[in-house]
């Protein structure tokens, strides 16, 4: 219920929202949790395993219970913390893990079965039969247990990711963070101040302390205004720093539009990578519950959260509140409630010398030993120095002390240090290079201490950055001592819950210890303590204390589990922002792309490139029909194919030829101007890296082509060779793949076609096979190469990319007028297999030059990359699988890529394996299937028959082994010189 006049948003406008279909009214500035409590809604969810009724425990992102689902269908977003979700008009939230309703949840039967569902239950019970794991046990467990569900539909929300850079990143904008930011900013540093709340101020928004004579929240607002006015400060609200990474990189999640009506034009979340020279962690502290019997009933909350609801949002979470604590700080909850006119039925303080700060009953040496109330707390049983009594109460504010938020300091394997004074872990110095810690996160709990430490740490940081620390006046503030006595668990009948989200209680930890899961990491896996969305933020330290007790060790010796990023859950949508669908990878389009689509060609991906598979003609019903036509067209008339995707590297300099000689295994020093040579490139280990042609365009200029697939790798390799191995060579090179559009013109009529478009015609004598040179097309300077990947009389013509689309249309029109046309990748593949030309199907990284029949190409007159390794005894003398051609004995026989080869009649099992098939096609030229493959000692087995076996596709075909060149072995077509 609301307390009149209380709350920072006391004058906030009314906001209407629904929870489980019921309409409620809240106030602008409320979180969903605050608005639900204002409407006396206590029961908000069912627990993970036992489906116990649960209410709101905290007022922050550490909330384990109050998880809701928002949105429907594709926009369904589960496990949203009601404690951080701000309300807006029309917000609709649903509870999770309850059916048919929150009040009557049938799976609550699990709670009655709890004696059988203890820690390790799944491991012990669902052991066998093994076949039941996936099909029976897992679906049952998944249905019964769990948090919110996804819709299964593709998420249409937009997400964003971004980079930011600064001198000092300050994480958390409470009193320490604000002072640190002000100090760093006044010293001239570029500052980013990030806070996960919608409003900066941290605990000052939740407390009634004064700072510098003003209400803490007002003071904080003033500092934020100062910071906002400074050009070197960037304020990031609703932004949680989620991880600390190497070299000052931090991940951060900004909830850009969670607090407003969903809007497709605005990203829902943004994932930031912030690079900071230094950072100051001012993340504050998290309050821990106490493990007493049945401490999980709705209405039992942390004491600090009760203060937050009262002071920030003017909500009293109960009519008659009790407080249970082991420290002074929790007494402030009683003081604030009494001041606000809310009944405080008692403060149960476990200490014999418990203080009294106001007008409320204090039960010294007090313990809460039992609670009652099925769907909401009704009463507690208190044992204290004066005896035992029942107290009627609908809200119990508990505090077992505060844990500094050390998480980020542990993200690079740092381990926190136990502090006996505050009975918790504090960050260990130097855990994250470049990160300092200030305020409550460092174990300093008074407001004065936090302000002071923010200034002090920021001064140290700016001095280290070489700046002059600006002068900051220390504001006056409360400096009460933090007094606490250990209290981890209370004996009594009933389960004493530790991890509310995973339904782990004290007995589970004891059982883990008993069953020898004594290491804290083992205990975590055995019990699930500290898993899921809250990662045990409330419960880890208490669970360690219980484990320490159960194993007879101290807490420091027991140690902590490893805190890993992210600090709060980060949606995959945010981390992968922009990478959905077409954003997954960049697309590279050729200049012929649109014309190709216009012709109805299906595209296939070749690396990042999109290339036409085939160009269907009216009446053709299968790809093979089109492919066969295109192959015949090239063999008989002329075909056009865009080959711009091949890598093109322009190489220049006096030592360019020597450089080529070093990266190719064959000789390039002897290549004449206006001539092209095929080159084979090896890796240093002697295996083939890539192949292609290189043209000499001038005395010191060459253009190397690479395969489409290896263009990037070759460029990187050339960089390596020139920078690391041969800096003595005077050579420069750059990729010009994007600068030139290049088209194959292939077939007996190729020269005729070219002569119809070139400004100056060519003839067979001046343009023999492997010639190259400059040409003009309608006044545009281009390059012509007489090379052939089809075995036909063929050319490749290149023009600057801006003329590519135009030249492609012109070439196609001309080819069609001559009875030819355009061809795609399928036909290109058939043409090259018929000629035994290799691609990366053959040079797949495990073959050397000798394996593909190019052993003699490795010149021994010079050194080159891969020269020495290619002469290894096992390569030269060993029996290896070598490139062969395969054709079916029966012309109808089917060949498949990936099939294996066996001696005819041998069992088709691994030990008899003789080789494998790398490329196959149906050859319309020869009228049967063809294959390229590797066969043991294959070069010496031409004419033998082998059995091709494809177990996956159920194919068995007897084949003849032959030379890999099936067509025109003397290359007479490509070398054609007549001028007809």
């Amino acid at each position: 219920m609301r307390v009149a006049g209380k709350g920072l948003n006391a004058h906030g406008a009314p906001v209407t929202f629904t929870f489980d279909g019921t309409t409620f009214e809240g106030r602008e500035g409320d979180t969903l949790a605050a608005a639900l409590l204002a409407n006396d809604v206590r029961l908000v969810g069912r627990s993970f395993k036992y489906h116990r009724p649960r209410g709101i425990l905290t007022a922050g992102s550490e909330e384990p219970n109050a998880l809701v689902t928002m949105g429907t269908d594709a926009a369904q977003d589960p496990n949203i913390r009601a404690t951080t979700q701000e309300i807006y008009d029309g917000l609709a939230a649903r509870s999770q893990n309850a059916w048919p309703s929150l009040n009557r949840d049938v799976m609550a039967v699990n709670d009655l079965l709890s004696p059988f569902l203890s820690a390790g239950f799944y491991y012990k019970t669902f052991m066998w039969p093994k076949s039941f794991w996936e099909k029976v046990y897992e679906p049952i467990i998944r249905r019964a247990a769990g948090l919110g569900a996804l819709s299964g539909a593709t998420n249409e929300d937009t997400y964003e990711k971004a980079f930011a850079h600064c001198d000092v990143l300050i994480i958390g904008a409470g009193p320490a963070g604000l002072m640190a930011a002000l100090t760093a900013a006044r010293s001239g540093a570029d500052v980013i101040l990030a806070d996960e709340d919608s409003q900066m101020g941290g605990r000052l928004l939740a407390e009634t302390y004064d700072v510098d004579g003003q209400a803490g929240a007002d003071w904080a607002a003033g500092i934020v205004e100062d910071l906002r006015g400074m050009a070197n400060v960037r304020l990031m609200t609703r932004t949680t720093v989620t991880g600390a990474y190497d070299q000052g990189t931090y991940g951060a999640l900004e909830l850009v539009n969670h607090h407003r009506t969903p809007n497709a034009a605005v990203p829902r979340e943004c994932f930031w990578r912030i690079v900071a020279k230094r950072s100051i962690l001012c993340a504050g502290a998290l309050e821990r519950p106490i493990a007493f019997p049945n401490n999980d009933r709705p209405g039992i909350m942390t004491a600090g959260a009760v203060r937050t609801y009262l002071n920030r949002w003017g909500v009293a979470p109960g009519k008659s509140v009790t407080v249970f604590a082991n420290n002074d700080d929790a007494h402030r909850t009683a003081v604030d409630l009494v001041d606000a006119g809310v009944t405080v039925a008692g403060v149960i303080d476990s200490r014999a010398d418990a203080p009294q700060f106001g007008d409320y009953p204090v039960f010294k040496s007090g313990l809460v030993i039992a609670t009652k109330g099925r769907l909401c707390l009704e009463s507690i049983t208190v044992q204290h120095s004066g005896g035992t009594r029942d107290i009627r109460t609908d809200c119990l504010a508990m505090s077992g002390g505060w844990n500094p938020t050390v998480h980020l300091t542990c993200h690079m394997n740092g381990r926190p240090t136990w502090d006996d004074y505050i009975l918790s872990f504090v960050p260990t110095d130097g855990s994250i290079p470049g990160m300092s810690v200030a305020g409550a996160a460092s174990g300093v709990f008074s407001t004065h201490g936090c302000l002071e430490s923010g200034i002090k740490i920021a001064r140290e940081v700016v001095l280290e950055l070489g700046l002059t620390a600006g002068d900051i006046d220390m504001p006056s503030a409360d400096d009460s001592a933090y007094r606490i006595e250990p209290l981890w668990q209370v004996e009594g009948k009933g389960r004493k819950w530790l991890d509310f989200q995973n339904d782990v209680h004290v007995k589970d930890i004891n059982l883990a210890a008993q069953e020898n899961f004594r290491s804290v990491e083992h205990m975590k896996r055995y019990t699930t303590q500290g898993m899921a969305t809250d990662q045990g933020k409330n419960s880890n330290v208490s669970a360690l204390a219980v484990l320490a007790d159960a194993t007879g060790r101290g807490i420091p010796e027991t140690g902590t589990t490893t805190f890993r990023p992210p600090y709060v859950p980060v949606s995959i949508g945010a981390m992968g922002a922009g990478a959905q669908g077409h954003g997954f990878a960049p697309e590279r389009h050729m200049t012929s792309h649109h014309a190709t689509l216009d012709r109805g060609a299906p595209m296939i991906e070749a690396g990042l490139w999109y290339r036409p598979s085939y160009f269907p003609k009216t009446g053709e019903t299968t790809w093979l029909e089109s492919c066969n036509r295109e192959v015949n067209m090239v063999r008989n008339t002329v075909g056009i194919c865009d080959v711009s995707t091949l890598g093109k590297i322009d190489i220049q300099g006096p030592d360019a030829a020597a450089f080529l000689d070093f990266v190719y295994c064959n000789t390039f020093l002897t290549l004449k101007e206006n001539r092209v040579r095929y080159g084979l490139m090896l890796r240093e280990d002697g295996y083939v890296m890539d192949d292609g042609t290189t043209a000499r365009l001038g005395p010191n200029q060459y253009v190397m082509t690479t395969t489409t697939a290896a263009a990037g790798q070759v460029m990187k390799h050339l960089d390596w060779v020139s920078q690391a191995l041969r800096p003595d060579l005077d050579v420069r090179f750059g990729s010009v793949t994007e600068q030139w559009a290049q088209f194959a013109v292939a077939g007996p009529k190729s020269r005729d076609l070219l002569n119809s478009i070139l400004d100056q015609g060519i003839d067979g004598e001046s343009w023999p096979f492997m010639a190259c040179g400059d040409v003009q097309i309608s006044g545009v300077a281009g390059r012509l190469f007489r090379i052939s990947f089809s075995g036909e009389h063929a050319y490749e013509i290149a023009v600057p990319s801006r003329y590519g689309a135009s030249l492609f249309r012109q070439l196609c029109a001309q080819a069609e007028a001559m009875g030819g046309g355009v061809y795609g990748m399928e036909a290109l593949n058939v043409l090259r297999i018929e000629k035994g030309f290799i691609t990366h199907s053959e040079i797949h990284g495990r073959v050397n030059a000798a394996d593909i029949g190019f052993g003699r190409m490795v010149s021994q007159k010079k050194d080159c990359i891969g020269n020495t390794a290619s002469q290894r005894p096992d390569v030269v003398g060993g029996e290896r699988e070598q490139l062969v051609g395969l054709k079916p004995i029966d012309p109808k026989g089917k060949l498949t890529a990936g099939a294996h080869l066996f001696v005819d009649g041998a069992d088709a099992v691994r030990v008899n394996d003789q080789g494998y098939v790398t490329s196959v096609c149906y050859s319309p030229t020869l009228g049967h299937d063809l294959a390229l493959g590797f066969l043991l000692d294959g070069h010496n087995r031409h004419g033998e028959t082998v059995q091709l076996v494809d177990h996956l596709r159920g194919v068995e075909t007897v084949c003849e082994v032959c030379h890999p060149v099936f067509l025109d072995p003397d290359n007479t077509r490509a070398k054609e010189t007549s001028n007809g």
Binding site: G248, Q723, P727, N867, P873
Partner: protein, 87 residues
């Protein structure tokens, strides 16, 4: 993770391609013998501590750099062009 490219300054590691240990810089002579080549090509120590390894500023200036990096602490203490003379 950030790497200091001697030409471009400090950059996100996504701009770099990782190659491996800087052994690759010490290419043996052609006739150094099979053992020297075997070591060069295949044998690497798995060092816990300071290592020198090779990175290519692939999405940047194209420089190959030798980075001094600690595999235990992840500290990056320096980077040089593989051919320091040609800065």
């Amino acid at each position: 993770m950030r790497l200091p490219c001697p030409l471009c300054g400090e950059r996100d590691r996504r701009e770099f391609y990782y190659q491996g240990h800087a052994t690759m810089l010490d290419r043996p002579a052609r006739d150094a013998g099979i053992d020297a080549w075997d070591d060069y090509l295949h044998n690497r120590d798995n060092i816990a501590g300071e290592v020198e390894d090779l990175w290519h500023h692939e999405a940047g200036c194209g420089a190959w750099i030798k980075v001094t990096r600690n595999t235990v602490t992840h500290e990056v203490s320096g980077a040089k062009l593989v051919n320091g003379a040609r800065k």
